[in-house]
């Protein structure tokens, strides 16, 4: 089934989550920390809004989750990129780059 076009913000968050998970399995808080670090605190989302996105991505089958033990011996729910998630990430990255390049061109030359 074809995926509906997500609005920019949601689509962006999805893309960022997928990209973050591409470098390894992580629990929710870890993803939030990583996003914040990498964007050097530019992307300050409400941490809570991460979760509906995670659940949605899991429903799409792009990520999967499992409960495991975390470093400090607590139970944590870890997310992992699936095969189709990896493909989706590649597609979305490409389309993101196309769009940003286009937008950048417009901004430079208009």
């Amino acid at each position: 089934m074809k995926r509906e076009k997500s609005d920019l913000l949601q689509g962006t968050l999805d893309l960022l989550i997928l990209r973050t998970l591409a470098s390894g399995d992580m629990h929710g808080w870890g993803i939030a920390q990583r996003l914040q670090q990498l964007s050097q605190d530019v992307l300050q989302v409400n941490q809570g809004s991460l979760y509906p996105a995670l659940y949605r991505l899991e429903q799409q089958g792009w990520i999967e989750s499992a409960w495991g033990d975390s470093d400090n011996n607590r139970r944590a729910k870890y997310y992992r990129l699936t095969k189709s998630g990896r493909k989706q990430l590649a597609e979305e990255t490409a389309s993101w780059e196309r769009i940003t390049a286009a937008v950048a061109r417009v901004l430079q030359h208009a």
């Binding site: 929710g28 808080w29 409400n46 809004s49 979760y51 659940y55 429903q59 944590a76």
Partner: protein, 881 residues
């Protein structure tokens, strides 16, 4: 959406409590980590907790969004409906309780009866190819023989000449003494062809079934043990295979145990092949075409139809009649062979009763639905304002209808669950009831099909009684609800429900009334004998030890002498049967001296019984002519006989039979008729007496005899004493079937009694439900018209006229229902004709009594609310608006 995600969603929704707790834990974990991180950066714990929560945002909102993402929204809407329905039902506990109880009754009754119908009539027989099994019957309708049995020679003929039957196996039942475990036990023994269990497709639970070589002459005698005998008499011994018992003076070795399946054609303790049965293996039996002691079971070829088998059998029986005319005489006996489906045979007695019960419970369910619909309607009207407010607030009509349906379905399913509980509780009762009609009773269980039926019935009922209020709601609008008016459409619907309820109740009550009247008539039937203070039992002799007629006579004479000498014994007698305890007469061909057979070659058949001198006195029969037997009528004296009235009328019309001579061996020996006694209904109280002739017991020498004892007071004290007396004569001869004649009669009446009882029970439930429905409608009417009644009374209307008005309003639909009910009963009660004895299905007294009962009950149901109307205080009624 892909398939996997659908599955994920389904899983998610089915395990939504897991989902919730997992989500909860995940978010808690997140907040903990965040707080720890903030503390590590130098915040104090309080600030850190606040900051973490701020950064996270509203937990409740996030959870909602997560649920949406996961796709629980649709489920949540249903859940909301359910929660709302539960809340609003809890607000009306009495309404809810009444509805639940009514539904539980209705659905429970249907579940219970359906479980019986399913097990007995719908499910295939628990044998491989059970539906292809037929019994091959030889019938002689012109001389009243429905099933003559089959001889060894005949089985061989049918087996060889019926191409549409795969195979034919034989069966007959014997009683033998089993020795080897303390005292002798009388065991019911099924004597069957070695392939019998293969044809039925029964696999042994332990050991093996029979093999062809078990039946070869001189083969060691082997036994198969039934599951219940193994459990009850042999203690479930796992090492039973290989154990030896003594039977008929031979060693019999157990080779296997049967699984717990219904036994066909009858229950037996053990089974043996024909070669082990001393009667069946006797060369004379095998050679005698007329020794019809066997039941023949055939299996249809997969491609054959019952019709073709009937044709084949008719051809064979024609051929037999042609070849051996003296044995069949079809021209006068109507002899022919026919196939009867085993499944139909096993369930034939149960079918009409069960179908009538199913129809009865179906009607009760309709009543229940009507009643609950009525209650629901009243409630919807009572909630008019609430619903109008919800409509005004934007709840769509569909949404409200859905809400009402959710409520009714919830109630119905809950009622169904309760009903299912009732079904479980009455299972044992039902098995007991059903076992009086069919050997399939033990198969009754609440299985998947029954569960599905109950669920289906529940949902159907819920929709039925929920739909009516939901549909009639359309006539109500927000503005209308502001006023206290009665929607005429809804009042009409409620009256129509009352009409239907009264009509259905009428039909059920008439059915019950007919069955009860028929049972009472049956109970009043004079069987021709007295049952009070008589106890009976069977004494069976070992034919090896008692191998001469003299030995048997001596044994029975000393038993009788000893029993007669017992204190408290008024009379004691020996016979061969107990009235009402046998299924089939024991027919023999009769020759009357001086009467030629005319052009017929087959002799007429009469039922032969044995009687010692005190037999007739013991069971209270009357001598009509001549004399009874005396002690002088012994083996050395001339042979004598006594006939019953029916036989005398039949064979000696207009003359006294006393002094005439008859023969049962074609004139080789003769016996003189010395007396005539009254008729007895020996086979069923609702069947005509058969032609019977009694021989003097002392002039016969049977292996099995019935001992009948008339006691001075309670006969049951002899249940232990008399067997002891028998064992004083010979401790190795078993006594069985110890029962009072009263118990035998009562058992023979049990099926009609239980059927009448059940239908009456259901009809009573119907009457109560209907009365409650009428009372509900009338009292609702009074409520709705409080103001109007107040006005009338303020204007001077007397209380009696108010009562009359309300009664008139309430009884109108009742009268209409009665008329409809009479019509319905005339049409429908014809189906119970088969169950009726000496009562017509249009029996006027029953109809009148039922009409009066219903009218009185309906009037009583109206009276309470009508009197309440009369006590309305006009001033308060007017103010209440």
């Amino acid at each position: 959406m892909s398939m996997t995600s659908v599955l994920r969603r389904l899983r998610g929704s089915l395990r939504s409590s897991d989902f919730e707790s997992s989500m909860e834990a995940e978010m808690r974990h997140h907040l903990e980590l965040e707080i720890e991180a903030l503390i590590a950066r130098g915040m104090n714990p309080g600030e850190a907790a606040d900051a973490a929560r701020r950064r996270f945002g509203s937990v409740a909102q996030v959870k909602d969004d997560c649920r949406d993402s996961w796709g629980l929204r649709a489920i949540d809407a249903i859940r909301q409906d359910v929660r709302y329905a539960a809340r609003s039902l809890a607000k009306y506990p009495v309404y809810t309780a009444v509805v639940l109880l009514t539904l539980a009754l209705g659905i429970g009754a249907n579940t219970a009866i359906f479980s019986v119908v399913h097990a007995v009539l719908l499910r295939p027989l628990p044998y491989t190819h059970g539906d292809r099994l037929v019994e091959v019957r030889q019938q002689a309708p012109r001389i009243g023989v429905a099933n003559a049995g089959v001889s060894v020679k005949e089985i061989q003929d049918y087996r060889a000449q019926t191409p549409t039957l795969d195979t034919i196996v034989e069966y007959h039942q014997m009683s033998f003494n089993l020795l080897g475990r303390g005292e002798a036990t009388r065991v019911q023994t099924g004597v069957v062809s070695p392939e019998f269990f293969d044809v039925l497709g029964v696999k042994p639970m332990l050991g093996r079934t029979f093999r062809t070589d078990d039946d070869s002459p001189g083969a060691p005698a082997v036994l198969l043990v039934s599951h219940s005998f193994w459990q009850n008499a042999l203690g479930g011994d796992p090492g039973i295979v290989g154990r030896a018992f003594e039977m008929n003076d031979r060693v019999h070795t157990v080779v296997g145990v049967l699984p717990p399946i219904p036994q066909f054609p009858a229950e037996n303790d053990v089974y043996m092949p024909p070669s082990a049965c001393p009667f069946r293996s006797n060369p004379q039996t095998i050679a005698n075409r007329q020794a019809r002691m066997l039941t023949a079971i055939g299996r249809l070829r997969p491609d054959a139809s019952l019709d073709r088998v009937q044709n084949d059998l008719a051809v064979v029986s024609d051929r037999l009649n042609h070849t051996y005319p003296a044995d069949y005489d079809a021209a006068h006996t109507g002899f022919h062979a026919a196939a009867a489906s085993v499944r139909d045979e096993l369930t034939r007695d149960a079918r009409p009763t069960l179908l009538i019960l199913l129809a009865t419970t179906g009607f009760v369910l309709l009543l229940v639905a009507a009643n609950v619909a009525n209650l629901a309607l009243a409630r919807v009207l009572g909630r008019q304002r609430e619903l109008a407010v919800r409509t005004a607030l934007g709840a769509g009509r569909g949404r409200i209808a859905r809400q009402l349906l959710t409520e009714s379905t919830m109630l119905a399913v809950a009622g169904g669950a309760l009903g299912l509980g009732c079904g479980y509780l009455v299972r044992d009762l039902l098995v007991g009831f059903t076992s009086r009609f069919t050997p399939r009773a033990d198969e009754i269980s609440i299985d998947g099909t029954v569960l599905a039926f109950t669920l289906g019935v529940s949902v159907f009922t819920g929709l039925l009684f929920g739909l009516l209020p939901a549909v009639t709601r359309r006539t109500a609008s927000a503005t209308e609800a502001g006023h206290r008016t009665v929607g005429t459409a809804r009042m009409g619907a409620r009256n129509a429900l009352i009409v239907a309820q009264v009509a259905i109740s009428f039909v059920l009550l008439v059915g019950a009334g007919l069955l009860v009247r028929s049972f009472i008539k049956l109970q009043q039937v004079d069987g021709g004998f007295r049952t009070d203070r008589v106890i009976t039992m069977v004494v069976s002799l070992d034919f090896v030890k008692y191998n001469t007629a003299n030995a048997r006579r001596a044994f029975f004479k000393s038993v009788l002498d000893k029993v007669e000498a017992e204190p408290g014994v008024q009379a004691a007698a020996l016979g061969i049967t107990v009235p009402l305890d046998q299924q089939q007469p024991f027919l023999a061909g009769l020759t009357i001296e001086g009467q030629s057979l005319g052009d017929r070659s087959a002799r007429p058949q009469v039922d032969i019984k044995f009687a010692s001198p005190a037999y007739f006195q013991t069971i209270g029969m009357t001598l009509l002519s001549g004399r009874l037997f005396t002690a002088a009528d012994d083996a050395a004296a001339p042979a004598v006989a006594i006939v019953n009235l029916s036989m005398a009328r039949h064979f000696f019309p207009d003359t006294d039979p006393v002094g005439r001579r008859v023969s049962f061996d074609n004139g080789r020996t003769w016996m003189t008729i010395v007396g005539m006694v009254n008729d007895t209904r020996d086979y069923a109280l609702d069947a005509k007496p058969t032609d019977e002739i009694y021989r003097a017991f002392a002039q016969t020498a049977p292996l099995n005899a019935t001992l009948l004892v008339r006691a001075a007071s309670d006969p049951s004290v002899f249940a232990r004493r008399i067997p002891d007396v028998v064992h004083e004569v010979d401790a190795r001869q078993p006594v069985s079937r110890i029962q009072t004649l009263e118990a035998v009669r009562s058992r023979s009446l049990a099926p009609p009694r239980l059927t009448a009882l059940l239908v009456t029970l259901f009809a009573a439930v119907a009457l109560v439900i209907t009365a409650a429905g009428i009372a509900g409608v009338v009292s609702f009417l009074v409520n709705q018209r409080t103001t109007e009644i107040g006005v009338r009374m303020a204007l001077g209307a007397p209380r009696s006229s108010v009562v009359r008005m309300i009664l008139g309003q309430g009884l109108g639909p009742v009268a209409a229902g009665l008329v409809l009910g009479i019509g319905g009963a005339l049409m429908l009660t014809r189906v119970v004709t088969r169950l009726l004895f000496a009562v017509e299905p249009t029996d006027p007294p029953t109809y009148v009594a039922v009409a009066i009962t219903l009218a009185v009950v309906a009037a009583l149901a109206c009276l309470a609310p009508a009197r309440r109307a009369a006590t309305i205080d006009p001033m308060r009624a007017l103010r209440s608006e």
